[in-house]
Amino acid sequence: MPNSAEIARALLIAAREGPAVASCTVMGATEGVEVPLGAKMLVYADEELGDIGEGPLQAAVTEFARSAIPKHLVQTCAFTPEGEFVEGRRAIEAADAIVEILVEIVEPAATLLVVGGGHVGLAVGQLGAMLGMEVAIIDDREDYANQERFPYEANVICGDFGEELERFPITANTYIVLVSRGHKVDELALRTVAERGAGYVGMIGSKRRTRTVLQHLAEEGLDRDALDKVFTPIGLDIGAETPEEIAVSVLGEIILVRRGGGAQPMSEHGRFLASARR
């Protein structure tokens, strides 16, 4: 059984460097249920550290926690002592006995890699920083890639697109936005990043232009599946016009990919309005 110091160290490493881990803590239980309050277990993709009990509850929480890693979930979940997942307030209140477990995914801040430091790149980066992402911006023109241009925390890289992207570390926690000055650069950038397992790759441009880019790369032999996963044209359809509005549309799409959701107005009136305009 690992002690608290080992758990704390493992969480610090997960938050700083990754890989992501699902941290599970027993936070409560119906009176009479024998569980150790505060017991902790860390569930990685392929192993566990610690445990929160034994038998079916332990197995069920482990399985649930592992499946929560790609969803970036933070949620207090209810299980029966026999390991059955209980969903919804009514079901929880109706159950005879419940164990409450906080499942939280601990991982480094997501990286937002913006290719192109123009007006749209500037706004996308700003909004990403506001959302707590680690922002990196690449451009080959010094006027568009200098620290003064970006009045927020960002790793501004000025250099050759191909070379810089080649050496930029990309993981499933990297979100890439291609908004460079032209399709030649976007194509070059996409060629460099498409097959590297990023959490998101989006490319700006009209349907016609972006289809041409994808066709070129497919003809060159790039992986079809990887190209199919490129979000292009980029962003949610909210009628965005200005660079800042486009940034909202793009980051909205990134949040959708990260958290899941229906990408619809919540209200009936909003949905009515959206469908009327379609």
């Binding site: 610090l12 938050a15 700083r16 936070m27 207090t76 409450e100 906080l102 939280e104 991982e107 707590g132």
Partner: protein, 105 residues
């Protein structure tokens, strides 16, 4: 959002052999300043790292954390932000359940 500053403070307290109290938002109902998973770590001298939302709710949780450091018991604290304070309007209007535990290496 990563809580690396909280984990770092925890790790370094354990390196010094000191216990800490950790307050974690377990659940929120309605409009609350922080969401599930928000953390505040309290050291024996009362200093703290991180936040579970500021204001009077946080002061209450800090006191519970100091008590937990003393008696060692894990506890669930309910902070009700729906009550107007001193006749002022409700600011947030939600309820937070916060798990407070003492941890040592």
């Amino acid at each position: 959002m990563p809580h690396d500053e909280v984990y770092e403070a925890m790790s370094s307290a354990f390196d010094d052999g000191a216990p800490v109290a950790l307050a974690t938002v377990a659940q929120t109902l309605g409009s609350t300043p922080r969401k599930t998973g928000a953390k505040m770590l309290v050291r024996e001298d009362g200093t703290f790292v991180g936040t579970i939302g500021g204001g009077c709710g946080e002061a209450e949780v800090w006191q519970e954390a100091m008590d937990a450091l003393e008696d060692g018991d894990a506890r669930m604290v309910t902070v009700d932000l729906t009550e107007p304070v001193d006749g002022e309007d409700k600011i947030c209007g939600g309820i937070m359940r916060i798990f407070v535990e003492r941890l040592e290496s």
